[in-house]
C-alpha cells in the first residue's frame, strides 16, 4: 500500500507549468484553425475494434490498445482459443482506443453524412494511444491536431493549408521549412523510367541521396530489382538541381511523356504560385523524395521540419482521394494536415520559445493574518476578480515569510498585504515581488495599477 504509485510506461502527467506551456501551443493551433474557418469535432476515445482493425496495416493492428469486454467476458468464448491470443483478443475485446484521428474522422463522416454540409472543414484536437515501445519523444498517449477539408478537389485548399501552417509556426516563433511533393510526380517518374510498379522503391532510394550519394542510390535500386535501363533513365532526375522553379522546369522537360507526371507538376506549380503570390514567411521547397504516407496520399504531400533542432518532422499532410471508401462511402476526396503537438512541445522546450507570461497564474496573492483580515482581503479580492484580475488568497493564517515563500514559488508577481493597519484604513499594501517596492493603495487604485501591468 505504501509503495509509491506510478503511471503506465509511455504515459505522462502534466504539471501546472507544463500545462501552461502545452495550452499555449494548443490554443495557438486552435485559434488559427478557427481563423481559417475550420470547425471542431470530437469523437469518443473508444471505437469499435471493427472500425479500427485493418486500417493501419498488420503492425498497426498489434499496436492498438484493446479494451476487455465488461462482465463475464469468457462466456460463450471457446476456451480452445487460449493458445491463439490474436483470435482470443478479438473475441474478448470489442472496443479499442483511438489510434489516430483520421480513421475516426472517416467513420464520423460516413456515419453522419446526411447531417454534414460539404465541403466540410473540420478540426480535431484529441489524444491518441499506441502500444508502441516508448522511447525519447515517442509516447503511448499523445495529442494530434488535425485539420481537413473534405468534399473539395480545389487546390485552393492546399494553398490555404500552407498558409495556415505558416501562420501557426509564425505565431509559435518556430522557424520552419515546408517540403512539398506530389504523388503524381512520383508516379510519373516511375512511369517514365519504365517501372511504374516500383514507385515506392524508387522513392525510398531517392530519399537517401543526400546521405549516401548517387552511386549508392543506384546500387540500392539495382538491389531492389530495377533494370539498368531504368536506372540509366532515372539519372537526369537525380541530377536535377537549382531552386524550386528551375527544378520544376527540368522535371517538366524530363517527364514530358507522362500524363500523370505532367499533371503532378501542374498541380505543384499552381500551389506554389498561389502561395508565393500571397507571401509566405516559411521556406517552401520542392522535395521529390518526400513520400510520407505514400499508400494513402494521391496528390499533394506536405511535410514541415523545424529548422533549429534535429527533431525532424513536426507536421505533415496531403491529399487523399478515398478517405471513406473503407466504410462504404466512395469518392470523398480531401486534403488535410496533422500537427504533431508533442513534437512541437519538444521543439518549443528545446528552443525555449514561450512568451514570458506563459506560466503566469494568479496576478496577485492576498495574505491572511487573522480571520478579520482575511475577511477584508476576500472582499478586495472579489472586486479584483470582478475586474478580471486572476488572484488568490493564501488560505491559512500563517507567518508572513511562509506566505511570501508561496507567492514566490508560484511566481505570483504581486502580493496584497492586508494587516490590521491596512484593514483599518480600508486599504492594502501592494508589494511588487520583483522590485520589492510596496505601495499603500485603495482596492480601486490597486485594480487600475494591476490592469496596467
Amino acid at each position: 500500500m505504501a509503495q509509491k504509485p506510478s503511471i503506465p510506461k509511455g504515459t505522462r502527467d502534466f504539471s501546472p507549468a507544463e500545462m501552461a506551456r502545452r495550452n499555449y501551443i494548443f490554443n495557438t493551433i486552435r485559434d488559427v484553425f478557427a481563423l481559417f474557418g475550420f470547425r471542431q469535432i470530437e469523437t469518443p476515445a473508444m471505437e469499435n475494434l471493427s472500425t479500427l482493425m485493418g486500417k493501419y496495416g498488420e503492425e498497426g493492428d498489434k499496436l492498438l490498445f484493446k479494451i476487455l469486454n465488461s462482465g463475464d467476458f469468457t462466456n460463450k468464448v471457446d476456451a480452445e482459443l487460449w493458445n491463439e491470443p490474436v483470435k482470443l483478443a478479438s473475441k474478448i475485446c470489442e472496443k479499442g482506443l483511438r489510434y489516430d484521428l483520421t480513421v475516426p474522422f472517416a467513420r464520423f463522416v460516413v456515419q453522419h453524412r446526411n447531417d454534414i454540409q460539404f465541403p466540410f472543414k473540420r478540426f480535431q484536437i484529441q489524444p491518441v494511444w499506441r502500444a508502441d515501445r516508448p522511447q525519447k519523444g515517442r509516447y503511448r498517449e499523445f495529442y494530434q491536431c488535425d485539420a481537413d477539408i473534405i468534399g473539395s478537389d480545389s487546390l485552393v485548399n492546399e494553398i490555404e493549408l500552407l498558409q495556415l501552417i505558416d501562420e501557426v509556426f509564425s505565431r509559435l516563433n518556430i522557424r520552419i521549412a515546408i517540403k512539398l511533393n506530389n504523388r503524381k510526380v512520383l508516379a510519373g517518374i516511375a512511369e517514365y523510367i519504365g517501372a511504374p510498379e516500383k514507385m515506392v522503391d524508387i522513392t525510398v532510394a531517392i530519399d537517401k541521396i543526400d546521405k549516401i550519394g548517387i552511386e549508392n542510390v543506384n546500387a540500392e535500386l539495382r538491389e531492389r530489382g530495377l533494370s539498368e535501363e531504368s536506372i540509366a533513365k532515372l539519372q537526369p532526375v537525380l541530377e536535377i538541381t537549382g531552386d524550386t522553379e528551375s527544378r520544376l522546369s527540368q522535371l517538366d522537360a524530363i517527364l514530358g511523356e507522362s500524363e500523370i507526371g505532367k499533371l503532378g507538376i501542374a498541380e505543384l506549380r499552381e500551389v506554389i504560385t498561389g502561395v508565393k503570390e500571397l507571401g509566405l514567411r516559411a521556406e517552401l521547397d520542392l522535395d521529390v523524395s518526400l513520400a510520407r504516407g505514400l499508400n494513402y496520399y494521391t496528390g499533394t504531400i506536405i511535410e514541415v521540419k523545424a529548422l533549429d533542432t534535429q527533431i525532424g518532422s513536426i507536421t505533415g499532410g496531403g491529399r487523399y482521394d478515398n478517405l471513406t471508401g473503407v466504410f462504404g462511402l466512395p469518392g470523398v476526396s480531401g486534403v488535410g494536415i496533422s500537427f504533431g503537438a508533442d513534437r512541437i512541445y519538444d521543439v518549443m522546450n528545446t528552443l525555449d520559445l514561450y512568451p514570458a507570461d506563459t506560466l503566469r497564474g494568479s496576478k496577485v496573492m492576498f495574505t491572511s493574518f487573522g480571520k478579520q483580515e482575511s475577511a477584508a482581503a476576500l472582499k478586495m479580492l472579489m472586486k479584483m476578480r470582478a475586474a478580471g484580475i486572476p488572484g488568490e488568497i493564501f488560505p491559512d493564517i500563517a507567518k508572513m515569510q511562509k506566505q511570501m515563500k508561496y507567492a514566490d514559488a508560484m511566481a505570483i508577481p504581486f502580493v496584497a498585504i492586508v494587516g490590521e493597519s491596512e484593514m483599518q484604513q480600508g486599504k492594502l499594501n501592494l508589494k511588487d515581488m520583483t522590485s520589492g517596492e510596496q505601495h499603500l493603495l485603495t482596492v480601486d487604485e490597486a485594480i487600475e495599477f494591476l490592469k496596467s501591468k
Copy 2:
C-alpha cells in the same frame, strides 16, 4: 464493409455545433478556475489497475474499463483461470481507464509530492470512463471538471469554492440553489440520539422527509434498527423549520451536548457568514439531509441543483481529511468541487441558455467564380484574417446559388462576392446574409465594417 459504421454504446460524437456549445461551457468553467488562482494539471487516460482497483467499492471495480495487455497476453497466465473471469482479468490486464479525477489526482499528489508547493490549488478537466449501463443523461464517456485545494484546513477555501460556483453559474446564466451540510453535524445528530453507528441510516431516512413524511421516515428508521428512544430523540431535529440561520440556532440548541455536532455547526456558521458578507447571487440553504459521498467527506458537503429543470445535481463537493492515505501519504486534507459538465450541457440545452453568437464560426465567406477571382479573393481574405476576422473561401468554382447555400447552412453572416467586375475595381461586394443588403467596399473598408459587427 458497406455496413454503416457506429460507435460503442454510451459514447458520443460531437458535431461542430455541439462542440461550440460544449466549449462555451468548458471555457467558462476554465476561465473562472483560472480567475480564482487554480492551476491546471492533466493525468493519463490509462492508470495502472493497481491504482484504481479497490478505490470505488466492489461495484466500482466492475465498472472499470480494463485494457488488455499487449502482445502474447496469455503467456505465463494459468489457463485454469478461464472459469474465473475476475481473476483472469487481473492477470491479462494491467491498465484501466480513468474512472474519475479524484483518485488520479491523489496518485499525482503522492507521486509528485516533492515538486508540489502546498497549499496546492489544482483544476483538471478531462473525460472519465465507466462501464455503466447507458441511459438518458448517463454516458460511458463523460467529462468532469474538478477544482481542489489541498494542504489547507482553512474554511476560507470553502468560502472561495462557493463563490466560484456562484460565478460559474452566473456566467452560464443557470439559476441554482446551493445546498450545504457538514458531516460533523450528521455525526453529532447520530451521537445525540445515541446511535453513532447509524449515521448513514439516519441520513438516508431524513433525506426522504419531503417525499414520504415524518411518519414514514420513522417507520423506516425502525426498520433500519433504531431504538424507539433514538427515534423519539430525533423528532425535534426532524421538526426544525425556518430559514438557514434559525435552523442553525435550533440545531445548536438541540446538539448542545455533542462536541462534534457543535463543531459542525460552527463550521457551517463560519462558511455561511463568510459567503453572505461577500454577497452570493445563488440561493444558499442548509440541508441536514445532504449526504453525498458520506464515506469520503469529513466536513463541509456541497451540492448544487439547477432551479429551472428536473435534472438534479449538477455540481458537488466537500472536504476530505485523507485524500492520499491510500497511496501511503496520510494527513493531506483538502476541499474540492466537481462540475458535472455533461449534466450542465443538458441543462443548457434544455433551457437554451447559449449566447446568440456561440455557434458562430467564420464571419465572412469569399466566393470562387474563377481562378483569377479566387486568387484575388484569397489576398483579401488573408488581410481580413490578419485583422483577426475568422473567414473562409468557398474552395470550388461553383454556381452562386450553391455557394450561398453553403454560407447559409454554415450560418456565416457575411459573404464577400468577388466577381470579374469587383476584381477589376480591387473591391468586394459584401452581402449581409440576414438583411440581404450589399455594399461595394475596399477590403480595408470591409474590415472596418466587419470589426464593428
